[in-house]
C-alpha cells in the first residue's frame, strides 16, 4: 500500500489545484507514468508516478482546489499489507516539509517532461533533449512527428514543430482538450453567436489562472483608482546621462525601471500602502517586492524585483530585463513570480494615456503607468510644454484608504520629477 502525496512543484508551494486525473481506480501505473495535472497560480504541471502498482483509491476529486502539499491524493496497491489509514486521518497530518531543496537538485520546471502516455498506452519515444525542449516550449510530444531512429522524436523535430507553430504549439493541458476545440460552447449559441463562426482556443493553465484570479479580485476587493500626472523632463535627461555612463556595461535603464525604483522608495516612505488585507489582520510588508506585469504569448506574468528599495537603477534594469526575457521564454521559477507586495503595469509603450488595473491579490495596490507625452502645462501662469505621464494607483480600500493612496502618490511623484532625490 502506497499513498501518492500532493507534490510540491516549487519550494514555496503550499497548496494547489488537482486539475485533472489521468488515472482511475483499477489502472495499473508504473514509475514515470503521468498520473495527474496539478495547477498552481501560473502553471500546470504533470505529476509522474514514483511507485508502481494498481490504483486502489482516488482520495481527492478532480478539480479540488487548495489541496495541501503532502496530502495523500491517491492510493496504490503495494506489497505492504498494512491496512489503509482512514482518509480523514491522512489529510490533516500532511504538512509541507520545510527542508530547503539542495542547490542543484533537479527542479520541477527544468525537469524533462515525463514520457507522455498516448491514449493507447504506448510510450512516446523522444530523446532527452527533445523532451526538455518540448517542455520548455510548451509543445506536446504527441503532436510531433519523429524523424530519428525508429521514429524517435529528436531535437530537430521539436525545433521544426516550434518553427511551424500552429497546431502543435499547445500546452499539454490544451492539447488534451483539443478534441473539444472542434465543438462549440453552448453558452455562445444561447447568446446568438452560432457555431462555426469562431474558433475555440482551449483554455490553458495560465488562461484559467488569469480568469480565476482576476474574477476573484474584482469580486472580493473594493477597488478605487487615484490619478496623478508626473512631469518627466528631468527624468528623461537623467536617464540619458545615466545610460551613457552605463553603456560600457551594456546596461540600459528604462523609464519603467525608474518607476519601479520610485514606487519602492515611496512604499518605504508610506508603508501603509505596502500592505495586504487578510482576515486575521493587515500584513505590513517589510520589503517592497515589486511585481512587474510582463505580457507574454497567451497571457501575462508578473515577475518580481525583490527588495527593490535596496537596489540601484542599474541592478533593477539588469534584473527586469532578465526576468522579462525569461518570462517570455516561460522559464521563470515559481518563486520568481509568486509573492510580490505591489504591482506595476506599464502600457506606455502602446501609447495608452491612462488606465486602471485590477489588483493582484493579496497586494494592496497596483500602479498603472501611461505613456509619457508632450502636453501643455501651466507654469507660473504661463503656458508651457512638458513631457507628462499619467499614473493611476488602484487601491484595495480594505487596506489602503484614499488618503493613504494619495500620500503614497505624493511621495512617488517628486521622486520621478526630481530623479536626483532618489539618491537621497
Amino acid at each position: 500500500m502506497t499513498d501518492i502525496l500532493m507534490p510540491a512543484l516549487s519550494p514555496t508551494m503550499e497548496e494547489g489545484v488537482l486539475a485533472k486525473w489521468h488515472i482511475k481506480v483499477g489502472d495499473v501505473v508504473s514509475a514515470g507514468d503521468v498520473i495527474a495535472e496539478i495547477e498552481t497560480d501560473k502553471a500546470t504541471m504533470e505529476v509522474e508516478a514514483v511507485d508502481e502498482g494498481e490504483v486502489l483509491e482516488i482520495l481527492v476529486a478532480e478539480g479540488s482546489e487548495g489541496v495541501k502539499v503532502n496530502t495523500p491524493i491517491a492510493r496504490l496497491a503495494g506489497d505492504d499489507a498494512a491496512p489503509a489509514p482512514k482518509k480523514a486521518e491522512a489529510a490533516p497530518a500532511a504538512e509541507a516539509p520545510k527542508e530547503a531543496p539542495k542547490a542543484e537538485a533537479p527542479k520541477a520546471e527544468t525537469k524533462a517532461a515525463p514520457a507522455p502516455v498516448a491514449p493507447s498506452g504506448e510510450r512516446i519515444f523522444a530523446s532527452p533533449l527533445a523532451r526538455r525542449l518540448a517542455a520548455m516550449a510548451g509543445l506536446d510530444l504527441k503532436a510531433i512527428k519523429g524523424t530519428g531512429p525508429h521514429g524517435r522524436i529528436v531535437k530537430r523535430d521539436v525545433e521544426a514543430a516550434q518553427a511551424s507553430g500552429g497546431a502543435t504549439a499547445s500546452a499539454p493541458a490544451a492539447a488534451a482538450a483539443a478534441p473539444a476545440a472542434a465543438k462549440a460552447t453552448t453558452s455562445l449559441a444561447q447568446l446568438g453567436i452560432p457555431d462555426g463562426t469562431y474558433d475555440l482556443v482551449p483554455l490553458d493553465g495560465m488562461r484559467k489562472a488569469i480568469a480565476r484570479r482576476l474574477v476573484d479580485s474584482v469580486n472580493n476587493v473594493p477597488h478605487f483608482p487615484l490619478f496623478i500626472d508626473v512631469e518627466l523632463d528631468a527624468l528623461m535627461e537623467a536617464r540619458a546621462q545615466l545610460n551613457k555612463m552605463l553603456e560600457p556595461r551594456g546596461i540600459k535603464v528604462s523609464v519603467n525601471d525608474f518607476v519601479i525604483k520610485a514606487a519602492a522608495m515611496a512604499l518605504k516612505a508610506v508603508p501603509e500602502a505596502n500592505a495586504s488585507y487578510t482576515p486575521e489582520g493587515i500584513a505590513m510588508h517589510h520589503n517592497a517586492d515589486v511585481s512587474m506585469a510582463v505580457a507574454i504569448d497567451g497571457g501575462l506574468i508578473t515577475p518580481i524585483i525583490r527588495k527593490a528599495e535596496t537596489k540601484g537603477l542599474a541592478q533593477i534594469a539588469t534584473e527586469s530585463k532578465d526576468l522579462a526575457k525569461r518570462a517570455r521564454e516561460r522559464k521563470l521559477k515559481p518563486e520568481e513570480f509568486q509573492g510580490g507586495t505591489f504591482s506595476v503595469s506599464n502600457l506606455g509603450m502602446f501609447g495608452i494615456k491612462q488606465f486602471t488595473s485590477i489588483i493582484n491579490e493579496p497586494q494592496g495596490c497596483i500602479m498603472s503607468v501611461g505613456a509619457g507625452e508632450q502636453r501643455p502645462v501651466v507654469k507660473d501662469g504661463q503656458l508651457a510644454v512638458a513631457t507628462v505621464m499619467t499614473v493611476t494607483l488602484t487601491c484595495d480600500h480594505r487596506v489602503v484608504d484614499g488618503a493613504v493612496g494619495a500620500r503614497f502618490l505624493q511621495a512617488f511623484k517628486p521622486l520621478l520629477e526630481n530623479p536626483l532625490s532618489m539618491l537621497a
Binding site: 542547490a103 542543484e104 533537479p106 527544468t110 525537469k111 524533462a112 530523446s127 532527452p128 533533449l129 527533445a130 526538455r132 525542449l133 520548455m136 524523424t147 530519428g148 529528436v154 531535437k155 530537430r156 522559464k331
Partner: protein, 467 residues
C-alpha cells in the same frame, strides 16, 4: 543500360565502407582504386601511424619502469623493425579490405577513374593499371577520392622524400634522422613529432597560430604543449614559415616570430600543413561539379549538384577524418538505396594519438563564447582519479561544455592516457541528445578513468564529488 547500381571511386574508409553498405542493401556495386585497397587511412595514414606510435610509447614506457618497481637494462630499438611492423599492419588490413570486397561481391577495378557525361549518372572511364580502358555505366557514382598533403611551393615546402617529408615519407624512412623540424601542429604533425621524439630525435614543431593544435579547446592546447615539452619537443608558435631550403646537412627552415626572423636547421623537415582535396584530373570541371573552397560541394545527403553523383569524405570537406568519411559513405549508400534518413550531420570526434593523447567532440569553450551561447563548463583532472593514480597515468583532464539553457551536452575535450578510447562515451551522449540529467544518472564503473567523465559533467552543475 547500367552495368552497376553504384560505382564508388576510391577505396579508403569512406569508399569501401559505402560499397559494403550498398551491397548489403542489394545494390550491384563496383569500386575503383588506383593504388591500395583501404586508401590512405589503412596504408599511409591512421593505421600505420598508430603502429609506429605504439612502438614509440612502449619504448618511452621503459624509462618509467622504476616508478612501477621494475627494472630492465639495455633498452634499445631496431628502427627498421619498427617500420616493418607498421608496414605489416597496413598490409594485413589492406588484405582484409580485399577479403571484404570479395565477401560482399563488390567488383574491384584497379585503375584511375575519370568522369564523363552520362545518362542516369556520369559515365566512369577507368584507365586500368594493367593497361587498357574500361567504361562503367552506373545509376549512381560516388566520389570518395580523398585528399593529399598540401604543398606550399611558393616557400619551397614540397615533399621530396629526402630532406622534406610528407606523411608518406615519414611512415617508411630508411634511416632514423637525429633532428626534425615539423611544420604544422595539427594531429598529423603532432603524432610524427611524438613518435620521433619518443625514439630520441630532437624535434621542433612550428605552428603559425599562437597555440598548438588550433582546432582544440585552448585549455587543451595549453596542457598538450606542456605535456609535449615535458617530453622534450620544442615549439615555435605564432611562427610564419617564410622559406624552406635544402642545405648540406639537411634543411633550413626560415621563420618569422613576432616580426623577428629566425632559421631552424634539421636533417629533415616534415610538412604537415593540411591537405588538398583530390579534385583535379577526374573531369569535374567538364561536368560542372560545384566546388566550395577546393572541396566538392554536397547537400545533406552527400549529393553534388550533378544528378546521380555523390561525394563523401575528405574530398567533400572538413573534418578530414576517416570516421566522418565512413559515416557519410553509409549515409549516401542508404540514400541511394532509397532510405530516408533525414541528414548526415552527427557529431564527429577528433583524436590525436600522441603522448599524451587528445580527444574532443563538439564545440570548444571559445567557439561557444564566440557564438554567444550561454554555457556551463565542468572540468575534472585525472590526478585525482583512482584508476589513473594506480596506473601512474595522472596527466591531463576532462572538460565538458553544456548549453546552459537546455542542458544539452555540446562539447567535450579530453587530454590524457587513452582518452581516444573514452571520447566515444560523450559522442554517444551527444548523438542521443543527452542532457546533464542523463549523464549525471549514468553509473560509471569503478575504478576507471571514465569516472572523470562523470565528475566533469557533475562539476558543470556544481555537484562534483572528488574535488
Amino acid at each position: 543500360m547500367s552495368d552497376f547500381d553504384l560505382v564508388v571511386i576510391g577505396s579508403g574508409p569512406g569508399g569501401y565502407v559505402a560499397a559494403i553498405r550498398a551491397s548489403q542493401l542489394g545494390l550491384k556495386v563496383a569500386i575503383v582504386e588506383r593504388e591500395n585497397l583501404g586508401g590512405i587511412c589503412l596504408n599511409w595514414g591512421c593505421i600505420p601511424t598508430k603502429a609506429l606510435l605504439k612502438s614509440g610509447e612502449k619504448f618511452e614506457s621503459l624509462s618509467h619502469l622504476k616508478e612501477y618497481g621494475l627494472s630492465a637494462s639495455g633498452a634499445s630499438f631496431d628502427f627498421d623493425a619498427i617500420i616493418q611492423r607498421s608496414r605489416g599492419v597496413a598490409k594485413q588490413l589492406n588484405q582484409g579490405v580485399g577479403f571484404l570486397m570479395k565477401k560482399n561481391k563488390i567488383e574491384v577495378i584497379e585503375g584511375t577513374a575519370k568522369l564523363e557525361k552520362g545518362s542516369a549518372a556520369p559515365k566512369v572511364v577507368v584507365t586500368l593499371n594493367k593497361g587498357g580502358e574500361k567504361v562503367l555505366n552506373a545509376k549512381n557514382v560516388m566520389l570518395a577520392v580523398g585528399a593529399r598533403a598540401r604543398a606550399l611551393p611558393q616557400i619551397g615546402l614540397e615533399a621530396d622524400g629526402d630532406k622534406i617529408w610528407a606523411y608518406r615519407d615519414a611512415l617508411a624512412p630508411k634511416t632514423l634522422p637525429k633532428t626534425f623540424v615539423v611544420i604544422g601542429s595539427g594531429a598529423i604533425g603532432i603524432e610524427f613529432a611524438s613518435f620521433y621524439r619518443a625514439l630520441g630525435a630532437e624535434v621542433t614543431v612550428v605552428e603559425a597560430i599562437d597555440r598548438i593544435m588550433p582546432v582544440e579547446d585552448e585549455e587543451v592546447s595549453k596542457a598538450a604543449q606542456k605535456g609535449f615539452e615535458k617530453r622534450g619537443i620544442k615549439f615555435k608558435t605564432g611562427a610564419k614559415v617564410t622559406k624552406v631550403t635544402k642545405s648540406a646537412k639537411g634543411v633550413l627552415v626560415a621563420i618569422e616570430v613576432g616580426g623577428k626572423a629566425e632559421t631552424l636547421e634539421a636533417e629533415v623537415c616534415i610538412s604537415a600543413v593540411g591537405i588538398t582535396a583530390n579534385t583535379d584530373g577526374i573531369g569535374l570541371e567538364a561536368l560542372g561539379v560545384e566546388l566550395d573552397r577546393g572541396h566538392i560541394k554536397t547537400d545533406s545527403h552527400c549529393q553534388t549538384n550533378v544528378k546521380g553523383l555523390y561525394a563523401i569524405g575528405d574530398c567533400a570537406g572538413a573534418p578530414w577524418l576517416a570516421h566522418k568519411a565512413s559515416h557519410e559513405g553509409i549515409h549516401a549508400a542508404e540514400h541511394i538505396a532509397g532510405f530516408a534518413t533525414p541528414n548526415v550531420n552527427s557529431p564527429i570526434a577528433g583524436c590525436t594519438y600522441a603522448q599524451p593523447q587528445v580527444a574532443s567532440v563538439g564545440v570548444t569553450e571559445q567557439g561557444a563564447r564566440e557564438a554567444k551561447r550561454e554555457v556551463k563548463i565542468g572540468r575534472f583532472p585525472f590526478r585525482v582519479n583512482g584508476k589513473a593514480i594506480a596506473s601512474g597515468e595522472t596527466e591531463g583532464f576532462v572538460k565538458v561544455i553544456f548549453d546552459a539553457k537546455t542542458g544539452a551536452l555540446i562539447g567535450a575535450h579530453m587530454i590524457g592516457h587513452e582518452v581516444t578510447e573514452m571520447i566515444q562515451g560523450y559522442v554517444t551522449a551527444i548523438t542521443m541528445e543527452a542532457t546533464e540529467e542523463d549523464i549525471h544518472g549514468i553509473v560509471y564503473p569503478h575504478p576507471t578513468m571514465s569516472e572523470a567523465m562523470h565528475e566533469a559533467a557533475l562539476d558543470a552543475y556544481g555537484r562534483v564529488i572528488h574535488i
